[in-house]
Symmetry: C2
Amino acid sequence: MTTLVFGHKAPDTDSTGSPLIWAWYLSEVRGEPAEARLLGAPNTEAAFVAERWGFDLPPVLDDVEDGQPCVVVDTNNPAELPANINGADLRSIIDHHKLTGGIETKGPIDITIRPLACTATIMHEMMGEKAAGMPEGIKGLMLSCILSDTLEFRSPTTTPVDRALAEKLAAELGISIPDYAGEMFAAKSDVSAFSEAELLRMDSKEYEVGGTRLRVSVLETTAPASVLGRKDALMAAMPAVAEEDGADEVMLFVVDILNEEATLLVPNDRVKEIAEASFDTTVEGDTVVLPGIMSRKKQIIPALRT
Amino acid sequence: MTTLVFGHKAPDTDSTGSPLIWAWYLSEVRGEPAEARLLGAPNTEAAFVAERWGFDLPPVLDDVEDGQPCVVVDTNNPAELPANINGADLRSIIDHHKLTGGIETKGPIDITIRPLACTATIMHEMMGEKAAGMPEGIKGLMLSCILSDTLEFRSPTTTPVDRALAEKLAAELGISIPDYAGEMFAAKSDVSAFSEAELLRMDSKEYEVGGTRLRVSVLETTAPASVLGRKDALMAAMPAVAEEDGADEVMLFVVDILNEEATLLVPNDRVKEIAEASFDTTVEGDTVVLPGIMSRKKQIIPALRT
């Protein structure tokens, strides 16, 4: 039975590229038939990356059947996985996020979680000497995952291991990292086709902070003006998104990749209070600029308080 | 601050030896000060092994303080760990059990779970080339952990990786595996000093099966007669142990290492029903012999039904 390899819902580049990388490794190196799947439509950067390196987008998977062999990558959070994940035959997890604690396996399986910037970097380590056999397309995906998750090494999640691997891959591929990252970020920044509700959910995770359920959304862009120009419509869409998703508030951080700062939308007094308590700032008006803030995992979530 | 390395409560040889092995690796190879701890008195085999290879038993740890750097080995189940484990600074987990789902980390950490027989085998893999520098005592602990968890390669949890490593270590140490395993198992079989309640809790895990909470206890021994000679007293002690520990029933499997079979004590009709539903057998009297049953993880737990 073919093993399905997939990342999290609302797939970004790492959750699109890493399943393709690992399905290649399982099928071609380890001789275990495997195919990549997506848990939803990928973002525009991930779609650009797949096409750039010659891959069709993997089919979208709605749920997994009982006993379906699966490999989960780039998450260990059941809220970001198919509803029946605990009924599937989960073979392994490869991830770089905190342990969430909702997945229970039937027996001991392979679990590899490392505090690296990107799942693809962990896969490179796990492949060992076999990584030398990666074809150009797989190398290109791996480079793209690292550049995406590190925002071209600007994010504080970047480790020397991620950076050294990206530079090695770029050299082998004859790629200029600044030029290629620029193309990727331009693709990610083209969000004109998405509705406000889609933008609020595109890269979003839920957290409970002091009893308040927050949907913490991030939009990484090289063109913040195109998002902030829609700020009134985005704030108007927040109450319905929050209600549908069972959250109390939506916090949208528009991350300006090139200027290394985030602009938080402040639709009401509750979000204003949270912003002032969390980021040592004073909010005037309906936005606040947070210099240096790039990473939800390393900077936003640890700071949030009510 | 010194990192504390510990395994599960009611420490066996792997949960005593693996913390000593990893504390050596962190301190001596990686230059990160670390010390082993025990979460209770080790069993007689573990105490024999530590003395045989020249180690003092690590101090017993009651709980961990907030922010204490910790490495957890040979378990990922919070029920088997200090009460404040989620308040500690958990640095990594190295384990070979199923993912239980109760630990939540503050950020991404190193987690390595592999379906191998023994935690020490995983540590050997993680050390890579550095394993060549292990002193004799560390090699002896590693060999002991493998022989203990595999019951000298008799348990179906044994993998070729565990076996090959044990044979390599024994050769380097100039040790006869049959002779040394015989000494270990004799030490484990000397349970004369323990009360019935202590025997029921010595190697025991709780599971819920069809709404019934079971304390599933195993005693691995080369002298089953010495345990089964206390069968009436053991069964008499079960109701109080079950009540104190919040279980409905205690199921004690006396594993005869040399004859590769288990004898289950059957104190009442409820346990009789479970035994007959789970093991395709008919129970007459207050014990039942289960040929070939050696492993709670691989054979008993997957079979249990009500």
